[in-house]
Subunit: 394 residues, 2 copies
């Protein structure tokens, strides 16, 4: 047995999250793409069947009350809350991440108030955030300015209304300094909006603790909610009264069944809701979140760093030097839960890796992306992935 | 047997859609709330199970291509198209109706061009449409003017950018004159946006034929897609190049996986997509649409009118005169697929009706609403509903 393989055995033996793997539907593939689509939690299929056959099929319209459909967006939001460091009553689930970015950014500009007409956006952001930021700027009369996250403090000024940042970069896996950047944005009198797609469920976020005003995130990566499962919106309690959504639907109304022609926003985070919630996907997500019972984000973070450290060790041991270049920061404080390796022919290499049972993904033009989901990836998986990578590159 | 009961037997015997009822999961309740939440098509549970267990659980990320997840929004849009009189390539499924109303209205104002800064909205609209219209007006620098649909032609002018109308009024069941109103709006140089929530799947819409530019609708009423299933957006082929969405997500991009920082809209209706599609709900809807195989909307409309006519006959026969007042127009050309009866204590009356196995719904302040879904409601159901209503009111 190779030295890394022996190390893997020892690390797996003391992994306190090892038992969680049995709560997922997995096969003999090494699945390192949970940062794109989380694996299926075993509890989900039965729950979805109940939602379809009994709640919809038998109770039909009565389920809006009797099966708790109506309150699902805020109930599931409260279930996500501890995973991102939020007290209850500040998160609602629904719509896609893109739609929630629009809510948050337009809401942020309106919150920032008169005289502030500049919107800063992470220049390296996942594209959709940039597109939506441009739309939000256009519809609120702001100018949009792309800025590298590290340059945000120097770019803030009296005109800055809001800043949209990614907690973890989708491509490089770089973890940005949420506490520091949020403090800088607040000190400048602007509103920070964080996109948590690549951090929630993988590392501590601390929304309440760090004074974040608005945040959004998806639920189908580290939260395992299923393909395209609904996203969420966090609105800090202190600013909820000032949150003025660009999507005031009947579900955002203080009296949704009053069918009033005048709009009066619901109190609290509820005003982040819009239309009829998408129940099948939402209740699949609710079931999926049960795998978090008894798990702390801190334990997940510790294992995530151990997994990515170990992957880098194994790559160094197996892959000839210079064949790949790690673009993910080595410093723990700057690393999310993925490793991105730059490599020639990355697209082809990933195809061959997948054929050999190691599933990551390719991000144009030259990045191999490997996501490490501590709830179901073990150290032997990591060793095997690096070994197969070396074989593939040989 | 009473005379209406005998008539019901005869009508059911010659009902060419009678066999369709077996394709739904139903019990001995008379379900007249399919205009709120359609009943479960029997094909759905098995399909959803396959999507969850095999497509997500086994294929995982590969399903985006192998299970056709990626193209679901436009594929399912094309499945809805014939039901609303649209040729393929003009409808995408996704997001809620409210979100699609925002896309359509902002898109309509931008399409109408310079100098047009007034937005007209049906004054009797389902509230969410009015709230979103107000938001769209605010974000495009327009003024919003509520107008009764019949008064729209007189309210149109050089400044009118767009007009948002409901094909069928959610409360009264009144069918508005889509061909005539669309022609008037177009003649004034403005853009008509139709909300088809209460008409699609119940009566012919004729989007292409009547020159509608933009339309939206939900899929959980007469299309039986399930609670909160995704809505759709129709963008007429001729105006697709000018459709400039306020929600340009990565799915609206010409090259979604190019991860480009500059936005370039996809050609065609695809630019109406936004973020990652909600696969579980979307594929449940796709399965649900199979009940339309071999059914024409014209046949559905003929039965719908027969059902509502017969309900009014039975109510006249059983319910003491003056006890209820029909607020749905009697003329076929002005009637959707529901009957709304005004009545004292409508809220209590509906509760008692439901206890006796007749499920409709209550709309504040005083309306009993009964929806007739021709695919699974028969004439004996209608007779029973009227009879139980009379007993309840006695």
């Amino acid at each position: 047995m190779s030295e890394p393989a022996e190390r893997a055995q020892k690390l797996d033996a003391v992994d306190e999250l090892a038992d969680k793997r049995a709560e997922f539907v997995l096969d003999d593939v090494v699945y390192l793409d949970g940062n794109s689509l989380g694996a299926l939690p075993a509890v989900v299929p039965g729950r979805v069947e109940d939602v379809v056959r009994r709640q919809w099929g038998e109770l039909r319209i009565r389920s809006w009350e009797e099966s708790g459909w109506w309150t699902a967006p805020e109930r599931i939001g409260d279930r996500i809350a501890p995973l991102v460091g939020a007290a209850p009553g500040q998160i609602v689930v629904g719509d896609s991440t893109s739609v929630n970015v629009l809510k948050a950014l337009v809401g942020a500009v309106r919150m920032a108030g008169e005289g502030r007409d500049e919107l800063l956006v992470d220049a390296t952001t996942f594209p959709t955030d940039g597109y939506i930021a441009e739309s939000a700027a256009r519809m609120t009369g702001c100018t949009l300015r792309p800025v590298a996250p590290a340059d945000v403090p120097g770019a803030l000024g009296d005109r800055t209304a809001a800043v949209l940042l990614n907690h973890v970069d989708y491509r490089t896996g770089r973890l940005h300094d949420l506490p520091g950047l949020t403090a800088a944005v607040r000190a400048a009198g602007a509103v920070a909006v964080w996109d948590l797609c690549h951090s929630a469920g993988a590392l501590p976020v601390g929304l309440d603790e760090h004074g974040v005003d608005l945040a959004v995130g998806c639920t189908y990566k580290y939260l395992n909610g299923g393909p395209g499962s609904p996203a969420y919106l966090y609105v800090r309690r202190e600013v909820q009264d000032r949150f003025d959504s660009p999507l005031p639907g009947w579900n955002s109304h203080v009296e949704p069944f009053g069918m009033r022609s005048d709009f009066e926003a619901a109190p609290g985070a509820l005003r982040g809701r819009v239309g009829t919630p998408d129940i099948l996907s939402m209740l699949a997500l609710e079931a999926a979140l049960e795998v978090w019972d008894g798990v702390t984000v801190e334990a997940v973070r510790a294992k995530s760093l151990a997994l990515t450290d170990f992957f880098l060790e194994c790559v160094a041991a197996y892959v000839p030097e210079g064949r790949v270049e790690c673009v993910t920061p080595v410093a723990h404080g700057e690393r999310g839960s993925q490793i991105a390796l730059r490599c020639d022919d990355a697209g082809d290499v990933m195809k061959r890796l997948i054929d050999r049972g190691v599933v990551g993904d390719f991000r144009a033009p030259d990045v191999l992306r490997f996501g490490f989901t501590p709830l179901y990836v073990g150290f032997a998986d990591v060793e095997r992935a690096a070994r197969v990578l070396a074989q593939t590159l040989a």
